[in-house]
Amino acid sequence: MELKELYQEIILDHGKNPRNLKKSDNFNKDAAGHNPLCGDKVHVFLKVDENNKISDIAFEGSGCAISMASASIMTDLMKEKKEVEVKELVDDFLEMIKKNPELKSKILAEDEKTKLMSLSGVKKYPMRVKCATMAWHTLTSAMKNSNTEKSD
């Protein structure tokens, strides 16, 4: 059953007990993401040090298991990553979700890759892809320190 692939134990675990879900007040970059269709929200907070390295990362938000798990796993993996690495990982993840069968980046350890690949189940659920990618797009915005919200 494909549902089991979508809702793997690791997803349910991160979905129910998301890591790094807290308001960090020790950050210097942040961005908010929002899926207007379903109301899911995520706000990513970063502390980027003088070497362009993420020394701390956290997020706030609410959403479905997929989006929470994705933000949780992402924040775990991004800790201590340099800006170029962050970019590489985000691209690699988005490509994998869109089309590639596997992650290509060499930055992650095998167990980290396995963790991330647990999100690949959404490929068969096109309407849920956004749930998995929202945190990642928001991280990209945060690195640019541009808030993705637009005001009227």
């Binding site: 129910k16 379903c38 899911d40 997929i66």
Partner: protein, 405 residues
């Protein structure tokens, strides 16, 4: 009324969806279409097609007659006093935009107030919001109570001498509350305030009588009423259609056009600029016939039974929390499921062929107040059965199983 027979009139249920029988519980979003409606579109395009009102050849005359006959059928169905009180639009959203825009242009000034409710769909808020920006009007929201209802008192409390329009839903697309629109209209009129009813969810499920309700405007979404997409109806009292300026400008709605100025046509043309959705209007006539054949009273009875049954079943399921418990409730069952997000529910249910909606259902203000980012919603149509409710409940239990691993 034999409900099996009715389901048979909807071809969509003849086919499996992903190897499952379709359990369609998303009618508040859009209803399925009976065969007569789809056939009418087919026949019109393949045997009778022509544009309406513009040419004098045979096909054009016939199409114009069919088009105008539908206007009369709609008039009769909602018991309006004049066919010219029926304006065809591209949807309920456009109908409300038409009223907000033209009423705003002519009758609203800075500081004037529009009274909505916290139950409103975005389509009955955003058009008024535009007037906040362009005209400096204020928008007030009558609150809903813990049962998810908006009472007459809640409306009354929010009326001030500056209230210039009350715009409220007939039937909430989230809590299912049926608002006392006749009483609210009476109250509004006693203070000389016109009232717009967003009838998107009312029209498919409730007996409508414009002269009895006495509201000034009533917006209908035809695709939720067993009709085609891309069509809506605005009912408006003739005095308003006469008084308000035209909305969109174009062919068909003018009287005389000179370089220096333009005069506008009479009703019903004034508000129907450009080529209209001819085929859709004509097919919507079949939706009306379909409803009339079953009888709206029978539909009300059937759906009310089913809604009650749904409430019972879901109440018994301890993991489910229903949103709202209005005394007077329409065919909508919104709920949350312990620890499982609505999106996840919808995906898991879909695997069993159970189609529901998850999200804020275009009612963010309501969801904000409830502190929920999303709810799941099962909504009913004339083709639904108790079996559908049972299948919904089974699938909900499956969600629990998957998440409780």
């Amino acid at each position: 009324m034999n409900i099996d027979n009715i389901k048979k009139q909807f071809p969509i249920f003849d086919n499996k969806v992903q190897n499952n029988d379709l359990v369609y519980l998303d009618s508040a979003n859009s209803s399925q279409k009976p065969k007569v409606v789809v056939d009418r579109i087919y026949d019109f395009y393949t045997k009778e097609f022509s544009n309406v009102g513009r040419s004098v050849h045979y096909l054009a005359v016939a199409a114009t007659n069919l088009y105008e006959n539908t206007r009369v059928m709609v008039q009769k169905y909602i018991n309006a006093s004049d066919p010219n009180e029926i304006v065809f639009t591209k949807g309920a959203t456009e109908a409300i935009n038409l009223v907000a825009n033209t009423f705003g242009q002519k009758f609203l000034q800075e500081g004037d107030e529009i009274l909505l409710t916290e139950l409103e769909h975005h389509s009955n808020y955003v058009p008024w919001h535009y007037l906040r920006r362009s005209k400096g009007i204020k928008i007030k929201f009558a609150e809903f109570n813990s049962d998810g209802e908006v009472t007459l008192e809640s409306i009354e409390k929010n009326i001030t001498p500056k209230t210039k329009m009350i715009a409220i839903t007939h039937l909430s697309n989230v809590t299912g509350a049926i608002l006392p629109i006749k009483e609210i209209t009476k109250l509004a009129h006693s203070k000389n305030i016109p009232i717009l009813v967003d009838g998107c969810q009312g029209a498919p499920h409730l007996k409508l009588d414009m002269q009895d309700i006495d509201c000034d405007f009533y917006a209908i979404s035809c695709h939720k009423m067993y009709g085609p997409t891309g069509l809506g109806v605005l009912y408006a009292k003739k005095k308003w259609l006469d008084a308000l300026p035209p909305y969109q400008g174009g062919g068909g709605m003018i009287r005389e056009v000179k370089k220096e100025g333009i005069t506008f046509g009479d009703l019903p043309n004034k508000y129907e600029a450009g080529t209209m959705a001819t085929a859709q209007v004509i097919a919507f006539g079949e939706s009306i016939k379909f409803l009339n054949k079953i009888g709206i009273e029978n539909i009300e009875a059937h759906e009310s039974q089913l809604t009650q049954y749904g409430e019972e079943v879901l109440r018994k399921n301890n993991s489910v929390k229903l949103i709202g418990s209005p005394k007077n409730k329409g065919s909508v069952l919104s709920f949350t499921l312990d620890g499982i997000h609505a999106h996840d529910i919808a995906t898991i249910l879909d695997e069993d062929g159970v189609a529901i909606r998850a999200g804020h259902h275009c009612c963010q203000i309501l969801h904000d107040k409830l502190g929920l980012s999303a709810t799941a919603r099962a909504s009913l149509g004339v083709y639904n059965t108790k079996d559908d409710i049972d299948k919904l409940n089974e699938s909900l239990n499956k969600c629990k199983k998957i998440f409780d691993r």
